[in-house]
Structures are given as structure tokens and as C-alpha cells.
Symmetry: D2
Subunit: 138 residues, 4 copies
């Protein structure tokens, strides 16, 4: 993805809150590759995945018009909560821009915690990669 | 309201799309003063006001930490569509930052055009000020 | 481009201010195709293009995960001010989502109006398309 | 502060990335109360405070038009890095919405790490409150 002008601030770099938006995009695409379209979860099953924790380590500034790559993986999958890891890099110079971790809980349409559908759970558990522990929360 | 750091861009000024957000805030407060809480319209009546047209003239740059004042008024009120005018100013130096106009249509919970509730319509019509035509589209 | 979850609002559609951000992305890419990288204009020449007017007509709601296409063209090119037109469409169902027009002025690094560099002006004038007048301001 | 419509997403709650923006606002006001206007640091001294780490625990959903209160305090102050804690609450029902922690490093105008000015450092150290350890990173 390319950093938008709207995402810069007057420090001349991407404003730090946008990193969480980029991770949301990576998460959506990662789930799509697992055969789980998040839009269908919401529209078809009334399921929501709500972020309950986020941790970002900013390593280098991203700048306007930079092309960034975001890797996303499942770090932990339980029936009611999943944790994703993310690595944001700038391929042009090989710099690590940030490492991020977010945890999400499954909610039903009344915003009450619920379990993930079995088929979603299985696909996520198969994809979960506990070995890639490159990102640690302190 | 005060310009947030998040709202600046690398030009060192407030990014132009945020002006529409500020107008949304002013519109919400203006309706509250008329006794119409927009949140109640949505939650209680399933009514939505969707923006169908927006026009912004940027006159001077707003900067980080600037205190801005936004005046909002009703320019035109019909049973299915209302038009608001806005003047964004910086009291500190008396500069006009922007003039804005947005038109909104009433939609029901199925996103189909509908008419405004009679009580809302009356309050808006009473408040409408066709004389304050300081802002013109071209 | 794909509509981000972050860009939706509780009406279940893309919030109207983001359309201007999408147009910024289209403008950047359009200029890149003309051989003008906006980032280089800012970094190399201290030139900025600041939005002085924006007009958006919202025709249909864009939704989360929608794939949108944005066409961008030059409507008017003068030495100090350029006007772009934009058509945002959803290819999947052929719906027109919005038509937009923005005018930008050239500023130097002190934010004083200036003229566009000759080479930029020529490329833009060659690309300008006064015939595509599909979008009109009222 | 009041939750803006622009800050909601289609889940009907405030989108999680905006919490970091709200903390930025609280941080700016906290520093202003200490006699340190962040805008002056940037404009007068060429100093920037860049976020290097952020940790958010989301406890309850914030909704459109909610009035929120944000308490901000200094948790740790060193010559090159400061850590702020934040508690976002909704006074109306006494709910804790989120607890947040961000660490920022001082950069000079070339984006190289530097030390905080002595007067700023002293004011921050006097205000630092290591006892309010209600928020812990895991």
C-alpha cells in the first residue's frame, strides 16, 4: 500500500494512529486468503470482531508516497478471541517501519461475546503460526 | 474547536477533508440547539440524514492548535432535503478560514428517501434563514 | 481501491469526507502518469498544490469492502491554478458513486501563490480535457 | 470531548484507531497545563515528540455523541523519552472505555534523537506520577 497525503502530519511523516488502519486492511486480506470474507461474517452471520487490545512499536517513520508492505499472521486462536501479528516494512530500503499486535473478540449482533463459527475457527487454527514470535509485547 | 495534530498534513496545515468533519460537528450542535438530537433521530426513529452534496471554499489555512469557530445555519428546508451553510473562522486574527454548504436527504432505516418528521421539519423551518446568503455556489 | 472498515460510519456506508481523500489518491496517480511525481514537486522544488475549492455530488453509497474505480482528469489548467474532475464508480454493479471537482493553487515553500514550473504546466495542458464536461457545478 | 459521527464505524461504535487521536488531544492539554505548549516546542525550538510505542486496552465501546473524559498523566520522564498514561472514561455511566500508554522520543528538526530542553524536562519531572500505575503493559 502507498502512504496517502491525508495520512501525513506536519512532522512530515505518517501519523501514528493510521498504522492501526493499515493493519485492519492487512487483516481483512489475510482472512480473505483463508477463505473468510469479513464482510460476509458481518452481513451473513451478524458476527463482529472487535479490537480489545492493540500494541504498536514504531521503528522508523513512514513518509508520503512510500510503498509499504504489511505481513499479517495469526498468533493465537481461541474460540472467542484471536490475536494477529503484523510487520510493516518498506521494501525500497528494507527498513522495518513497525511491528503491531492486535487481539479481537467475537461479538454477536447484540455486541455480546460469542464463539467463532466452527468453520472459521478451523481455518484460523490451521493458519495460526505460534512459531513466528518475532514480535513480543515487552 | 481546536485543530488536532492528527488533522494536519505535511504541508503544515489542516488537511482539507477534515473541514467536512468539523461541519458535521457544527450541524449536530445546531440541531441540538433546535431541540433535535440527531442521535435520537437515528436510534428512535430509524431516520438518517445523508449528505448528497458538499461544496467547500478554502480561504485561509487552519493550523495545528488553532482555535476555530464554526457558525452553522439552515439555508433551505424541504420535507425531504435540507441545506446547511457554515462559516469557519479563526477569532484570534479574524480570518475567514472557509465557507461550506452541504445538502442532506432524509433516509429511512432501509436507506430509502423519506420525509422528515413533522416536528423536526417545523423546528428547522422556523430556524431557516434564507437571508444569510453570504455563501454562494459559484 | 477498496473501501476500508475505518472509512465506514454507523450508517453502514463510507463517511462522506473520505471521498476527498480518495480523489487525492487519484490525483497523485494521474500526475504520476503525466510524469509529474507530486512528492518530487514538494521535496525538490518546494512547491505545494493546495486545495482552494471542492465540490462533491454523492450519488450512491459506497460500502465496506467495495472495490471502487476513480477516474481523474484535468478540466482546467492555468499557470497558478488547476482544476481536476473525478468520477467514482463501482464496477461491480456499474453504479456512479460520486462526481467531484477540486481546484488547487500552486504555493511556494512560504505558502505564497506562485506559478507552476514550465515543464509541469506543459504536461498538464497537454493532458487537459475540456470536452469531458460531464461534471457541472450546478 | 464528544464522539464525532466521523469517528464511528459500521459496528456502530467509535473506530479503535481514533482513541490514539483522543490521547494526543489529552497530551497536548496536559502539557499546556504544565506550561509547555507543544506548538511552541515545534515552532520555536524545532523539537518534535514522536510516538515510538502505543498500547491500548479497549474495555467498553464508545458511541456516537457520547461525552468522554480523558485523564492524562506522566508515567515516566527521561531526558530523551517520556511515557504518558491515559484513562478514557464515560462519566454518564461511569464506565471505563479504555486505558492507554504511549511513549514518545524527542527529535530535532532533522528527526535525530535529542534531549528535551531543561525547562521542559523539569516541569515534566515534577509532574510525573510513578505511583499511578493503574495501567500495566501485560
Amino acid at each position: 500500500m502507498r502512504v496517502r497525503y491525508a495520512e501525513t502530519d506536519q512532522m512530515g511523516v505518517a501519523y501514528h494512529a493510521h498504522y492501526l488502519v493499515w493493519c485492519e486492511m492487512a487483516r481483512t486480506e489475510h482472512m480473505r486468503q483463508l477463505g473468510v470474507r469479513y464482510r460476509d461474517l458481518e452481513e451473513g452471520r451478524g458476527l463482529r470482531l472487535a479490537v480489545v487490545e492493540a500494541h504498536v512499536r514504531y521503528r522508523a517513520a513512514a513518509r508520503y508516497d512510500d510503498l509499504l508492505s504489511i505481513r499479517c499472521w495469526l498468533r493465537d486462536v481461541a474460540s472467542r478471541q484471536v490475536t494477529f501479528g503484523y510487520a510493516i516494512d518498506r521494501p525500497q530500503d528494507g527498513r522495518s517501519i513497525a511491528v503491531v499486535q492486535t487481539s479481537l473478540v467475537a461479538l454477536n449482533s447484540s455486541h455480546v461475546p460469542t464463539t467463532l463459527p466452527e468453520v472459521v475457527l478451523q481455518r484460523m487454527q490451521t493458519a495460526a503460526d505460534p512459531v513466528r514470535m518475532s514480535f513480543k509485547c515487552r
